[in-house]
């Protein structure tokens, strides 16, 4: 069943990690431009609001899915048969955001402040480490679980002082709000202390990978074209995304597209390329901070094999 050699389109499903946003721009561009169709793929996009992409993917109910390294490793440890086939961003784009009036300029300032988050173990480990590296006392950071509260009003109400957000989405939105001054500590600025990792990335089902590698290749081919387009034409790409998902805020999408257009790939590698040492460092961090209990051979968690050959 190779989609390339007939008029028959191969129907395949992609499950998003979240509501469509600029992280997904390349996919929406490729879909809109008919590039998947050119590769013989009829792509269906499913968007969830809750967790569970990995399980669904593992069962083969979706062929592709958007996931994060911090889910991929535990999922593989739970023997869910999925593999990361491309990273959407080569570097972590997350940061810790606070109101500028709170005065958090460096990780040391987190001492005595309250973190509002999901209560996940990764959050605590990272923040502890950051504070420790800066010579602070991690014990002095307060934690409160806030679910899906809107961050900015939450901080303005003084319910907590800083949150974990995406630079390319939440921070842009916050900067757009009238009269809200914010500070951010970007994780990527502290790689001497904490690891970098891939988030978000594209994963696929192992069975599909072994049975129909051409499909995976074709899929990534088209996807790559989409992200290349998003890099060179951020405004047009944003328009395409908005056309597909008209509910999104136009200003936010446009600004975010600008922000990400320079970040979809690094200088040294093609789009989607994953490096062994980044996976290794991250896996080690998870293990050391007790988030995972067993070690894992990360070579099997990801693959660059299906990326378009760079010529």
């Amino acid at each position: 069943l190779n989609g390339n050699d007939s008029d028959e389109l191969y129907t395949t499903t992609l499950m998003l990690d979240w509501t469509p946003n600029t992280n997904h721009t390349g996919i929406y561009v490729a879909l809109d431009q008919g590039w998947y169709e050119e590769m013989g793929i009829d792509l269906q996009i499913i968007e969830p609001a809750a967790a569970g992409v990995e399980s669904v993917l593992g069962q083969g109910q979706a062929d592709f899915g958007i996931s994060y390294a911090e889910y991929m490793i535990p999922a593989r440890l739970a023997e869910i048969p999925i593999t990361s086939i491309a990273t959407i961003l080569p570097h972590n784009d997350s940061s810790l955001m606070s109101l500028s009036s709170t005065g958090i300029e460096s990780p040391k300032d987190l001492e005595g402040k309250t973190y509002g988050g999901w209560g996940g173990p990764l959050e605590k480990s990272l923040i502890d480490k950051l504070v420790a590296c800066a010579g602070g006392d991690p014990e002095k950071v307060e934690y409160v679980e806030v679910g899906n509260i809107d961050y900015v009003p939450g901080m303005q109400q003084g319910r907590f002082d800083f949150v974990w957000v995406f630079e390319g989405w939440d921070v842009i939105r916050a900067k757009n709000m009238d009269g809200v001054g914010i500070n951010t500590l970007k994780f990527i600025d502290y790689t001497n202390c904490i690891p970098d990792w891939y988030t978000p990335l594209i994963a696929s089902n192992d069975k599909l990978i072994s049975e129909n590698p051409d499909l995976v290749r074709s899929f990534l081919d088209a996807t790559n074209r989409g992200y290349e387009y998003a890099m060179s034409n951020p405004d047009e790409a944003a328009t395409i995304l908005l056309k597909s998902v008209p509910e999104l805020d136009e200003q936010l999408v446009k600004n975010s597209a600008q922000h990400l257009s320079t970040r979809y790939k690094s200088e040294d590698n093609q789009w989607g390329y994953q490096e062994l040492n980044i996976w290794e460092d991250f896996e080690l961090f998870l293990l050391q901070s007790g988030i995972t209990e067993n070690s894992l051979a990360v070579e099997n968690v990801y693959s660059n094999e299906f990326l378009p050959s760079s010529d």
């Binding site: 968007e47 569970g52 809107d150």
Partner: protein
């Protein structure tokens, strides 16, 4: 015509109250006591409605289809189960606990399973609406069936009615009011049930619309969606009110302590 005027008169206070509330709300937001990214002004909600008027019908159709199909099956399954529970003590003991459990499985935890078993089409949403909606119908209908007048049951059994006839002639009619209470509760949950179901993975529907709005921080859009959902629910609720009046013509006048 006269009847219509009567209704208008009857609902005039509600309308007035509504209009007043809206104006108060507008004033409250505009006066700056609350940031408009927490609660938008009604006018902003209205504008947002106009802005999305072209894409809304599709979403509404999807969600209503899920809600109505779900409600339909909730009724069928709910009544069936109620009959079994009321009719067969053994089944009552086995089934009732299971049904209570069914209400306590977090849908979030169920999501991956449902996706694996039923994919992402209409089916999983309908299942969730059914799961949410059949419970009040079961509880109420069961109680209605079991509270039937014993003298009436004796009467028809004395005439040699078989089980099915006892059900048809006495228990069902006795359970109609309770059934409708249950159906009203279920109907109020149907639309929101579909919305929640859509959060587990969908490609159209108000739930999708809602979460997209929330993820891009568009409070006016969120509230607009909520207003639309509320409207749909109220329409459904009122339709069932009307249906219940039609189905119970012998209960023209309920006890009304209002006036003499």
């Amino acid at each position: 015509m006269n009847n219509f005027r009567q209704k208008i008169k009857e609902y005039f206070p509600s309308l007035l109250f509504l209009i007043f509330s809206i104006f108060f709300w507008e004033w409250y937001v505009k006066s700056g006591y609350v940031s408009d990214y927490l609660i938008p002004a009604p006018s902003a909600i209205g504008l947002s409605f106009l802005e999305h008027i072209s894409i809304l019908p599709d979403h509404i159709f999807t969600t209503m289809l899920e809600a109505l199909v779900g409600l339909f099956f909730a009724v069928v399954i709910g009544v069936l189960i109620a009959v079994l529970i009321a009719g067969i003590p053994f089944i009552r003991r086995v089934l009732y606990p299971i049904i209570v459990v069914s209400q306590n499985i977090p849908i979030l935890a169920l999501a991956p399973l449902l996706a694996v078993w039923f994919g992402f089409g209409l089916a999983p949403k309908v299942i969730i609406v059914v799961l949410i909606g059949f419970f009040p119908i079961v509880v109420n209908t069961t109680d209605g069936l079991m509270n039937a007048d014993k003298d009436m049951v004796s009467l028809v059994r004395g005439l040699g009615a078989n089980r099915w006839q006892v059900f048809r002639l006495v228990l069902f009619p006795s359970a109609v009011p309770a059934f409708f209470s249950g159906l009203r509760i279920a109907s109020a949950y149907a639309v929101i049930g579909a919305v929640i179901a859509e959060w587990m993975g969908a490609s159209s529907g108000l739930g999708l619309f809602l979460i997209r709005s929330q993820r891009s921080f568009q409070t006016d859009q969120i509230f607009m969606a909520i207003v639309v959902i509320a409207m749909l629910s109220i329409s459904l609720f009122l339709s069932i009110q009307v249906l219940s009046n039609v189905a119970m013509p012998w209960r023209k006048t309920l006890v009304d302590l209002g006036e003499k």
